[in-house]
Structures are given as structure tokens and as C-alpha cells.
């Protein structure tokens, strides 16, 4: 069982919350202070990727994160539920507003209008998949597995836990 699990509505605003939780749990699990910035950035990248995939394919489904203190390793798994590769070719219809409403918070109207898409004309010049490249530069152990039910990104860092479950 994961030490801490988080599920959040796929909105960019919640990615920060996910980062903060992951950093706090990593610290509690004994991850070295010098590595916490890497945990924060890698988890943020994984969550940003998952949020974008959900917003395109299944905006009503939450993004899930599992953080597990395994004693010598602190393991984070970010799972999306987007069918097929998250980098599905253009032409896949984004969710319609009506479908998203159930998962939107009451103040959803103030949320940013869109997750930036790679290659659009809005000044985003970073290609899709760049976030994963950043993750692999940050975590020394990264496993990406893609199934028909979604993509999971597993990352881990060394920890010196003295707080393993009793």
C-alpha cells in the first residue's frame, strides 16, 4: 500500500498542490534535502503531462499519484487514465465542456482556458515528450509504462527512512 495517495481533478492549478505533497512526503521519507528540488520538478513534470493527457481524452477522470516509502527508496507513481499514448495524434477531440463539468470545481471559470499544447502558435516551442525527458534527467530511476488504460510514470530516489511503517 502506498504511504500517501492523491487523486486530483486534471486542472493545471492542482499540479502545484501535487508537487508540494510529493515534496513533503519525500522529506518525511528521508530523501536527502539536496534531492527534494528534483523530486518536486520531476513529479510536477509527470503531473503536467498527465493533466494534459486527461484534458484531451478524459477530463472527468482524476489523475492519481502514489508515493511510497520503501525504506531505501522513495517511489512515486503518477498514473493517467487517458486511453492510448498520451501523445495521440492531433485530431483526437478534446473533451466537450459538458463532459467536464462534473469534475470542475465551482470556481472552474477562473481556471486557465487551456493547457498549453506543444507546437501551437502560442509561443510554446517545446515538443511533446519534453517533460519526460526532463524527468529522466532528474530521477535516476524512471520507468514509463503504457497500457490501454493509460500511462504510468514511476520514479524513485534514494531515501534513508527511519520512519518506515511500524
Amino acid at each position: 500500500m502506498a504511504t500517501v495517495e492523491v487523486a486530483f481533478t486534471p486542472l493545471p492549478a492542482h499540479v502545484r498542490t501535487a508537487r508540494l505533497v510529493a515534496t513533503a512526503v519525500a522529506r518525511r521519507s528521508g530523501v536527502d534535502e539536496a534531492l527534494l528540488d528534483e523530486v518536486r520538478l520531476a513529479v510536477g513534470e509527470a503531473c503536467s503531462r498527465a493533466v494534459e493527457a486527461h484534458r484531451r481524452h478524459c477530463p472527468a477522470e482524476p489523475v492519481r499519484i502514489e508515493m511510497t516509502d520503501q525504506g531505501e527508496r522513495f517511489v512515486v507513481v503518477v498514473r493517467d487514465s487517458a486511453p492510448g499514448p498520451s501523445s495521440a495524434p492531433a485530431g483526437t477531440p478534446a473533451g466537450t465542456p459538458g463532459e467536464t463539468r462534473a469534475a470542475q470545481p465551482a470556481n472552474g471559470a477562473s481556471a486557465p482556458q487551456s493547457v498549453p499544447e506543444a507546437g501551437d502558435d502560442g509561443g510554446m516551442a517545446i515538443p511533446a515528450g519534453f517533460g519526460l525527458a526532463v524527468i529522466s534527467g532528474l530521477a535516476d530511476d524512471v520507468r514509463v509504462s503504457s497500457t490501454s488504460s493509460g500511462v504510468s510514470v514511476q520514479m524513485s530516489w534514494p531515501s534513508t527512512s527511519t520512519s518506515a511503517p511500524a
Binding site: V15, S48, P112, P116, A118, G122, G123, I126, V134
Partner: protein, 116 residues
Amino acid sequence: MDLKLGHYNKDGIEVVDVEGEIDVYTAPRLRELLIDLVNKNNYQLVVNMEKVEFLDSTGLGVLVGGLKRVRAHDGSLDLVCTQERILKIFRITGLTKVFGIHGTVDAAIAAKKSEN
């Protein structure tokens, strides 16, 4: 901490002060500001990142997008950053070769002026 943006002109160069976290949520605001500045014919930009606490690939994308826009007008976009945690992200992505990165706003402005 959310994102705070400000900008001012110094010696003909537009300096953008960024404070807080640049991520998937806040990056669109920085993108809009950069687009707005370019649309107002500011092609020599310095983005001061000394007070940036967090930067992810979305933020990098906005900076690269800004660079593309000013270069289309023969301009340039330089950065001010001395924080190791932020510099590391530019380093692992190879973007240290793409941006001029300086220690102070004055150094960035001086470098730009010597280029022109």
C-alpha cells in the same frame, strides 16, 4: 507562491521581472506578457529570473517561444539567473546554449549593447 510579473524599460531594453513559480498553471501569463511586449515592438528583452522559485518544462517552452518571437524581428531574449536550482534545468535540457544567461540585469543589458 503564485507568479508575479512586472516590466520596465532600461536603456531601450525591456526588462521583465518574474517572481514565484512558472509552471503549467502560471506559464500562460508569462507567455501572454512576452507576446504583448513583442506585439508592442519590444524585441530586446531581458527576463530577470532571480526571484523565480520554480520552473518546469512549460516555463522553458514559454521562454523558448519568446526567443523565437524576438528573433523573428532580429531581437534577442537574455536571462538573468544565478540560482543553481533553476540553472540546472537549463543545463539538463541543453538550453544554456540557446539563451544568454547573465548574473545581473546590468550585465545582461551591457552584453546586449555590446552585441549591437
